[in-house]
């Protein structure tokens, strides 16, 4: 074992110094849509420059297929070389069970500690002092996107925050416009609710409920406001009969809906449709109320393997992902924020600049995924699916059930 370690270390230094022998590295990810594929191409090209070969294992559909596939492959003893995975507790058990490799040595060799920003990105990758994943980009969820023309054409001013948006809704309804576009998929319901938690309730409320697991507080009047807002949102979403998030975005682009609550990745859809940020569409981080965002994002993990060549290739990939060159191109393609302090965005949109500014101010909240288990997230999601689908589901009942979940959260 020690012998092996020395050998691996040797390879590591070699990897840092010069391109090694061509190795096939299988990388699993669920980035299959246009912008995502373009982004992953940046990484793969950067990786292939080292002389290694990228074997692409793209599987559409993060929750349904890719996750079981990834965990099965790893626990089944036939791991891929590297895999995309979301931050958080999800991976933790695999790490604990010793299935994953730590890349602490690469991180130390390349001085990630000083470069990766915000610090929480590395924290959520760290387990017992070792670094198990490489953050690739930051996405934030807390955004309200508005189609400016829908408001101005109907004699309304473009809202500057959630309350104004809600106030404008009746007028939009008269015009047969859906105020808020939303896809039917379950994760979007969960996202919507937790965005309201952060933005309407505020970051302290959010963390007190999820990190603090304060069930009494979750049943209290502060959280009640969030549920009231959720009930309003439910009315605003009436008629938004689409499944995917980008179909919802399309409703907004085509003017059949006025706004959408969605993560910053949706911006790509608007720009692709020829809309310009600030002119054609507006973005309100934190729904214009509490300008805090979750700085969670995507990350790459490296299963433990025996083959030293693959280990070397893994190290190369880890370095490529956080390298400044990759970060610039990658975040540009993905419409995401970079994970490095020293990277300047190339032609950022006003919305991205807003996001950057919030990051720099440190107005960051932890992601729900790092605070509670996927199981708890699942229970919240199930509750929200029901709540948002059924207008007769009262916010009070929902809140009581929510508090129940928080009381038993883990």
């Amino acid at each position: 074992m020690t012998k092996f370690k020395t050998f691996a270390l040797g390879m590591l230094t070699a990897a840092a110094a010069q391109p090694v022998l061509a190795t096939d590295l299988e990388v699993t990810h669920w980035w299959t849509s246009g912008a995502e594929a373009a982004a992953i191409r940046v990484i793969s090209e950067g990786f292939q420059k080292s002389g290694n070969t990228w074997v692409d294992g793209a599987i559409a559909g993060a929750g349904g297929v890719a996750r079981p596939l990834i965990t099965s492959r790893i626990t089944g003893g036939d791991p891929m070389g590297a895999t995309q995975f979301t931050h958080g507790q999800a991976m933790r058990e695999l790490i604990e069970a010793g299935f994953m490799r730590d890349v602490t040595e690469v991180a130390e060799a390349q001085g990630w500690k000083d470069q990766i920003f915000p610090q929480s990105l590395l924290d959520s990758c760290t387990f017992e002092g070792k670094l198990y994943c490489v953050p690739s980009n930051i996405h934030s969820q807390q955004w309200l996107w508005l189609n400016n023309a829908v408001f101005t054409d109907n004699g309304l001013s473009v809202p500057q925050n959630w309350d104004e948006f809600v106030a404008a809704a009746p007028k939009l309804r008269e015009m047969d416009i859906i105020p808020l576009a939303q896809g039917q998929q379950s994760w979007q319901k969960q996202l919507m609710f937790n965005v309201l938690m952060v933005s309407i309730g505020g970051p302290e409320l959010f963390e007190r409920v999820y990190a603090g697991r304060d069930a009494d507080y979750a049943a209290g009047s502060d959280v009640a406001k969030v549920f009231k807002a959720a009930a309003e949102a439910r009315d605003l979403m009436e008629g938004s009969n689409v499944q995917a998030w980008n179909e919802a975005a399309n409703l907004m682009i085509s003017g059949r809906a006025a706004g959408q609550i969605m993560g910053d990745w949706v911006q790509g859809e608007f720009t692709q449709a020829g809309m310009t940020a600030g002119e054609d569409f507006s973005c309100l981080p934190g729904l214009g109320v509490n300008e805090y965002i979750t700085a969670a994002g995507d990350a790459f993990y490296f299963p433990k393997v025996d083959d030293p060549e693959i280990i070397a290739a893994q190290d190369v990939l880890a370095g490529v992902i956080v390298s400044p060159e990759t970060q610039v191109e990658f975040t540009k393609a993905k419409g995401a924020l970079p994970v490095r302090r020293d990277v300047e965005l190339r032609d950022p949109t006003p919305c991205m600049e807003k996001g950057m500014a919030i990051l720099k101010e440190g107005h960051i909240v932890e992601s729900i995924n790092t605070m509670v288990s996927p199981d708890t997230v699942g229970r919240v999601t199930d509750l929200m699916i029901e709540f948002f689908a059924d207008p007769s589901f009262s916010p009070e009942t929902a809140q009581a059930e929510f508090a129940e979940i928080i009381a038993t959260a883990d």
């Binding site: 299988e26 699993t28 990810h29 980035w31 299959t32 849509s33 246009g34 912008a35 594929a37 992953i40 191409r41 793969s44 990228w54 074997v55 692409d56 294992g57 793209a58 599987i59 559409a60 559909g61 297929v65 079981p68 596939l69 099965s72 492959r73 626990t75 089944g76 003893g77 036939d78 891929m80 995917a244 998030w245 980008n246 179909e247 399309n250 859809e269 692709q272 449709a273």
Partner: protein, 305 residues
Amino acid sequence: MADVTANMQRPSPAHASGPKPRRAFSRNNIVIYGILVVLAVYYLLPFYVMLMTSLKGLPEIRMGSIFAPPMEITFEPWVKAWSTVCTGLNCDGLSRGFWNSIKITVPSVFFSIAVASVNGYALSMWRFKGANVFFTILIIGAFIPYQVMIYPIVILLREIGLYGDLGGLVLVHTIFGMPILTLLFRNYFSSVPEELFKAARVDGARFWTIYLKIMLPMAVPIFVVAVILQTTAIWNDFLFGVIFTRPDNYPMTVQLNNIVNSVTGVKEYNVNMAATLLSGVVPLTIYFLSGKLFVRGIAAGAVKG
């Protein structure tokens, strides 16, 4: 017991034996054809829509009705779906998975049918002690959702070192095809007169000789049914294909999933539909060509309890 020879020589009582032949335009006839045509519309509608949509350009899809025939026929979506659409980083469309699907389907169909037919034969002719217990377990197995089994199966394959291997996937297909296929073959072989089996035993044939020389040649109709059912099931499989193989062996359905579920701006419905149809070409062709044999094969024994 009926005359064996005559029976087996006419394995297909698939001759029309309805109530009575009817005159061309009786009232009954109009009702019958009326109902059939209306139902045919229900069955054909999705195919029609898929086909029409796959032949339209995107602008036309956006403005027109999905039921309208294309104003301008374009085969571009088909070309794109087959050879250029991107699934992840690979932009060579469905063609990538086509040969993988064949590579998976052919051995899986072969082995699952080989094993199941021997099972059916052993169960109906040799009836060793406890055989029915195992068969009952198999039948219950037919009702277990695959998702439930994924986890333990992964562990199982890992333990026997077949995980991630094409052989492992073939094994999984053989296992999960076994219940229904065994039922099919068992029922079929049960309808073969026992005296034939006895005669062969007197003639000195043992287990495998009887299977290969006597039973196999007689079971062609049911083999056709089994091949059709298994090819369809395995060709259309996605879950096992993705979980039990590596990317270089991913079947076509994985690409189809990536194409259909990847979301980039406007959904390219025409490409999606073309891809859907393309991925279904093999089983569809089999059904179109051998639908008649299918009914005959089922009639020949699958329906005997």
